[in-house]
């Protein structure tokens, strides 16, 4: 007992056992905490809400890049859509800000067109300006998302493209004796 007391005095961070002992205790805490939180949420200024939504987007993008994802979703387009809709009330305003047509933006968001190199560069610079007010954001993130998705799709769709492409590829030089 004395030992434990000394530990707490030396450094409170040795640990916390925060597990609920009874369901009654848990329920009581949940209700009180929720009431207090709802009051605080009501008072949140718009800029804090915006900052948090952008941080959430950034963290989701970073998570997506951590490992291969094989699914049917259009991740780049979805992240772009969230980005634009979080900051702007009208998508056309974003299009104007980066000097592209609203039609082109709409086609990229709906995955009907590939983003051009210039679009990617503009998006990178726009994000730099935005995330300066949010937190650290790696310049290459949008590119990484785009190529990560391309790579994952290419690898997972081999049965679709490989039979045709493989017929066109030969190896005429001897590599191993």
């Amino acid at each position: 007992m004395t030992n434990k007391k000394n530990i707490i005095n030396v450094d409170s961070e040795y640990g916390v056992d925060s597990r609920y002992k009874t369901s009654k205790e848990r329920e009581h805490d949940s209700v009180a905490l929720m009431e207090a939180r709802l009051e605080r949420i009501k008072k949140l200024p718009r800029e804090q809400v915006l900052r948090t939504k952008l941080l959430q987007l950034k963290l989701k993008m970073e998570n997506y890049l951590k490992e291969p994802v094989y699914d049917k979703q259009n991740h780049f387009a979805n992240f772009l859509e969230t980005y634009v809709d979080t900051i702007y009330s009208k998508r056309s305003a974003f299009a104007k800000d980066i000097n592209i047509t609203p039609v082109f933006l709409s086609k990229v968001i709906n995955s009907h067109r590939e983003p051009k190199e210039e679009f990617m560069l503009k998006l990178m610079i726009h994000s730099e300006k935005v995330f300066k007010h949010v937190g650290e954001f790696h310049k290459g993130t949008w590119y990484q998302i785009y190529y990560h998705e391309k790579l994952c799709d290419t690898m997972s769709n081999q049965n679709q493209w490989r039979p045709k492409i493989e017929k066109q590829v030969k190896l005429t030089e001897s590599v191993v004796k």
Partner: protein
């Protein structure tokens, strides 16, 4: 994310990873203060120096989607990382920041990280992490949760 080596003030990159079944054999109460085997069925994370295996700290959590919150069940740093003679600084802070990131990813603006420390150490968490106190429960919400993530989430 990184920890600071107290003796040299050198920064070391860290990774927060899920605890694997085999890890539990090395999680002694003598070094990690609690019986971590009791948490086997929970979501448990460890912090290690990047590319290394030695566990510097641990955290066990429960996601509560109906309340948009993540509750910290158990948190500890290893024995050599506590007190005046600690080897690395910021072990616990990185673990809390990692959980804060989970909460923001899952719940966005409504995100909340909660814990329920004994009253004797509650003030430490209020002071160090800017936590809100509601009865016995301490919590991190917007904007404090965002500030904490930005404070710790650097490479």
């Amino acid at each position: 994310m990184y920890v600071v080596e107290v003796a040299t003030q050198k920064k070391h990159l860290i990774e927060v990873l899920p605890v694997e079944t085999t890890d539990y054999n090395s999680l002694s109460k003598a070094r990690y203060f609690f019986n971590w085997k009791e948490e086997r069925k929970q979501e448990v994370y460890k912090v290690v120096l990047k590319g290394q295996n030695d566990i510097l700290g641990l955290i066990s959590i429960e996601r509560i989607p109906s309340e948009w919150r993540v509750h910290i069940r158990l948190l500890t740093v290893s024995r050599e990382n506590m007190g005046n003679g600690k080897v690395f600084e910021n072990v616990a802070g990185n673990l809390i920041a990692y959980v804060a990131k989970i909460a923001v990813i899952d719940f966005g603006v409504l995100a909340c990280v909660s814990l329920r420390p004994k009253s004797s150490i509650a003030q430490h968490y209020i002071d160090k992490y800017n936590m809100n106190a509601t009865g016995m429960t301490l919590s991190l919400e917007v904007p404090e949760i965002v500030n904490l993530i930005n404070q710790y989430d650097h490479d």
